[in-house]
């Protein structure tokens, strides 16, 4: 983490993301921001609010509802020498751009042997918990982590959201940032029937003003413990903390933050210490990112394991509307898994 020390300010995740854009645009004239409703209106989640007014329509503008065209144009801008920061309105809408992302952005450096590069950032709100149904709730991280040439990040709090976005904008390669939309306005532990919490009382809601970055590829241990290692990211970081309290087990909770590249060292060190591992994500189970984590832990920590590695994930169904909380891997399901893994002999 590199940091120019400054005052901190309470920010929710939206304000932190907006601030990151502002800092990057102020520092570098080549940073341009665009997406559907991202210009005048400032985005449906308001993450780019005020940027057009401050920097003009050439640096922050609206785009047609055409995701492939948006990313394709961004790739061309990056080839020219700009640093495009693209907002795709919902991660569910990103698939029309999958060809441009997976076979163009991710491959341009390699196929041109370094003559051309593609330093673009694509931000998109991910995950559920907002009654968004199957087209506003999905977690498509695994379709990007399977693509070499990309970097894939998922912050779980305002501090990381700002620091990772600035780091991504400065990165020389294409970066996808999945922003858990349920966390925009406050940490969410998965208790949908309890009062909303804001970021103001949370340590990571205290965000430095000005420039700092969070290093891409570094996980963060949010709770140290000895009984079991919990690997999670995004929404699930908060769910896992609640589940740890419910289960009353001494879990070590690791917020991966960066899925590609992955902080294998942090994972390996922790699992070798605890001998047990629970992997939690909101995305569907089969071929999800958890499968890769499970394989890596097995390859590297097999002789240290004292119990089978366990996954807690969304079910293999489309994201339902009425049954949202049955789908969502909440603290009760995670707590049960923690107990089971810790008690396994």
């Amino acid at each position: 983490m590199s940091e120019t020390l400054s005052n901190t300010k309470t920010m929710n995740m939206i304000e932190a993301i907006r601030d990151a854009h502002d800092v990057a645009m102020e520092r570098d004239d080549d940073v341009v921001v665009f997406g559907e409703d991202a210009g005048y209106f400032g985005g449906v989640f308001r993450c780019t609010a005020g940027l057009q007014e401050k920097y003009g329509t050439s640096r922050c503008f609206d785009a047609p509802i055409a995701e492939s065209g948006i990313v394709g144009a961004g790739i061309g801008m990056a080839a020219y020498g700009l640093k495009p920061v693209i907002e795709i309105q919902f991660a569910d809408y990103i698939t029309p751009a999958y060809d441009q992302i997976s076979q163009e952005a991710a491959r341009i450096r390699y196929r041109s042997n370094g003559q051309f590069t593609c330093p673009i950032v694509i931000r998109t709100p991910t995950g559920g918990g907002i009654y968004g149904g199957q087209t506003h709730s999905q977690s498509p991280e695994a379709i990007f982590t399977h693509v070499t040439g990309l970097k894939v990040l998922i912050p779980s709090n305002p501090y990381d959201a700002k620091g990772l976005l600035i780091a991504a904008i400065e990165d020389p390669d294409p970066v996808i940032i999945l922003e858990p939309k349920r966390l925009y306005n406050g940490p969410f532990e998965g208790y949908h029937d309890r009062a909303l919490k804001g970021w103001k009382d949370h340590e990571d809601g205290q965000v430095p003003e000005g420039y700092y970055t969070v290093e891409i590829g570094k996980a963060k241990t949010v709770r140290a413990g000895n009984a079991v290692t919990v690997l999670c990211y995004g929404n699930m970081v908060h769910v896992c903390q609640a589940a740890q309290e419910e289960a009353g087990v001494d879990a070590e909770i690791i917020d991966l933050r960066s899925l590609l590249p992955l902080d294998l060292e942090a994972i390996e060190t922790s699992v070798k210490k605890t001998g047990r591992c629970v992997i939690v994500h909101e995305a569907t189970k089969t071929c999800g990112y958890g499968a890769e984590l499970m394989a890596l832990v097995q390859e590297r920590c097999f002789y240290h394991l004292e119990a089978p590695i366990t996954r807690v994930t969304g079910w293999d169904t489309p994201y339902p509307h009425a049954q949202e909380w049955t789908y969502f891997p909440g603290p009760t399901r995670v707590a049960a898994a923690l107990k089971k893994v810790v008690e396994a002999k």
């Binding site: 055409a66 492939s68 065209g69 020219y80 076979q103 163009e104 003559q115 051309f116 070499t148 590249p261």
Partner: protein, 421 residues
């Protein structure tokens, strides 16, 4: 309309669906070629436009055909004034060298020196003509049939052959297929194998130029078949919405492997008219007429540099050869079509023009052709000395792990070690 499709008459009982139609080419092997559905216009008929003319002034060019040269080599009309004698000489040389290079590489493929090659036989005027309308600093986003750009820009053919042979001196170190070149210093964007993706990228590059208040332009190319991709439509829309300084060149060579342009809707409306439907000024141009190609691109480039945005250009041409060395067109089209194409061959037509106007003699042209042949033979000898991938003389194996990212991540370092490097 560009009616390069058979009239809808059902002759086979099995094809009697309720109005269901699958387009058919006018002629299959053994049948007589028929180009009568294509509007061929006439040389010199369409008036010269002002580069800053309003978009409505382009309307006559959507369905008619901009032509300068007639079939006897004579130039007609004011568009001819946009092309100088020096341009013609430069273009002829580049077109002849392109063809000589292709011939050499087709032979090399048959000799087993490379697994794969794609020629641009009959389409040389388009890439060469468009390139003469560009300046250093502009960026072209080609498909695999615009190698003419590289000959117009002066790339050393040996370097291209090194890539075709994926040898030790391959500039891309074996990472990309033969013919999918990348030459940034010559304003030539890395070619993708996925069709159509370059179209919105070229538009984005041009948007960046406009954002930076630069006068550089982009040139995008796409084949008739790939216009069916969503990227073509989105790119056209973005070019129009953001007024991007880009020349949007549809190379309509009638065939996408074995299907005709009718599968991209060409018999319903011209590509020029369809680009115009996005609000773009658009021209339909004889792609086998170097003078018409260069004149159209020069005017369009001038317009784009002046801040008036994109121009869509449909080049009417014919794919004389197979799609690639892996294709055999005798299986699906009448071979007489090649010689029957009503707009002839671009090199033959430019040669004739040079001779009838006295710009060059037949002997001088003959020398040009012989020199090109010698140049390509010698380049090939040098490239072969650098090795052939199929003879086990390819690029360094370890190079495959490099350049996935700016900095090699831990997982790749590990895998590289596992692979034995």
């Amino acid at each position: 309309m560009d009616g390069f499709a058979r009239t809808d008459t059902v002759t086979d009982q099995r094809d009697q669906g309720r109005g269901f139609r699958v387009p058919k080419p006018p002629a299959r092997p053994g049948e007589t070629p028929d180009f009568s559905g294509i509007n061929l216009g006439e040389p010199g008929k369409l008036p010269l436009l002002d580069a800053e003319a309003p978009v409505e002034a382009f309307e006559p060019f959507h369905h008619d055909l901009l032509r300068v040269l007639d079939m006897d080599g004579k130039a007609h009309g004011d568009w001819a004034g946009l092309v100088t004698d020096d341009d013609k000489k430069t273009a002829l040389k580049a077109m002849i060298r392109t063809r000589a290079f292709d011939a050499r590489m087709m032979r090399a493929q048959r000799q087993g020196k490379t697994s794969f090659y794609m020629q641009c036989l009959g389409e040389e005027a388009i890439a060469v003509g468009a390139t003469l309308a560009t300046r250093d600093g502009d960026m072209q986003f080609p498909t695999y049939r615009q190698q003419g750009i590289l000959f117009a820009k002066g790339v050393d053919p040996e370097v291209m052959m090194n890539q075709i042979y994926s040898n030790r001196k391959d500039p891309l170190q074996g990472k990309q297929l033969p013919v999918l070149y990348s030459f940034k210093e010559y304003g030539f964007f890395t070619i993708s194998g996925n069709l159509g993706t370059q179209w919105p990228q070229a538009v984005g590059w041009a948007m960046a130029s406009a954002i930076k208040n630069d006068d550089k332009i982009a040139v995008a190319y796409i084949g008739d078949g790939a216009t069916a991709e969503g990227d073509w439509h989105q790119g056209n829309l973005f070019a129009s919405v953001y007024r991007a300084p880009v020349l949007l060149c549809v190379v309509n060579n009638q065939w996408a492997i074995s299907t005709t342009a009718a599968f991209a809707g060409a018999d319903k409306n011209t590509f020029a008219a369809r680009m115009a439907s996005y609000g773009l000024p658009a021209l339909r141009v004889d792609g086998n007429d170097l003078l018409a190609v260069l004149a159209a691109c020069r005017l369009s480039a001038q317009r784009a540099r002046a801040g008036l945005g994109a121009v869509g250009i449909e080049f009417l041409t014919y794919r004389r050869g197979a799609h690639s060395t892996s294709d055999d067109p005798t299986k699906y089209r009448a071979k007489e079509e090649v010689e029957g194409w009503p707009l002839g061959d671009p090199i033959d037509r430019l040669k004739q023009h040079m001779i009838v106007t006295g710009l060059m003699t037949a002997d001088e042209i003959d020398t040009l052709e012989k020199d090109a042949e010698t140049e390509m033979r010698e380049a090939e000898n040098r490239a072969e000395e650098n090795g052939l991938v199929h003879a086990g003389q390819g690029a360094e194996p370890a190079a495959m792990f490099e350049g996935v990212y700016a900095e090699m991540p831990g997982r790749l370092r590990e895998q590289m070690k596992e692979a034995g490097f």
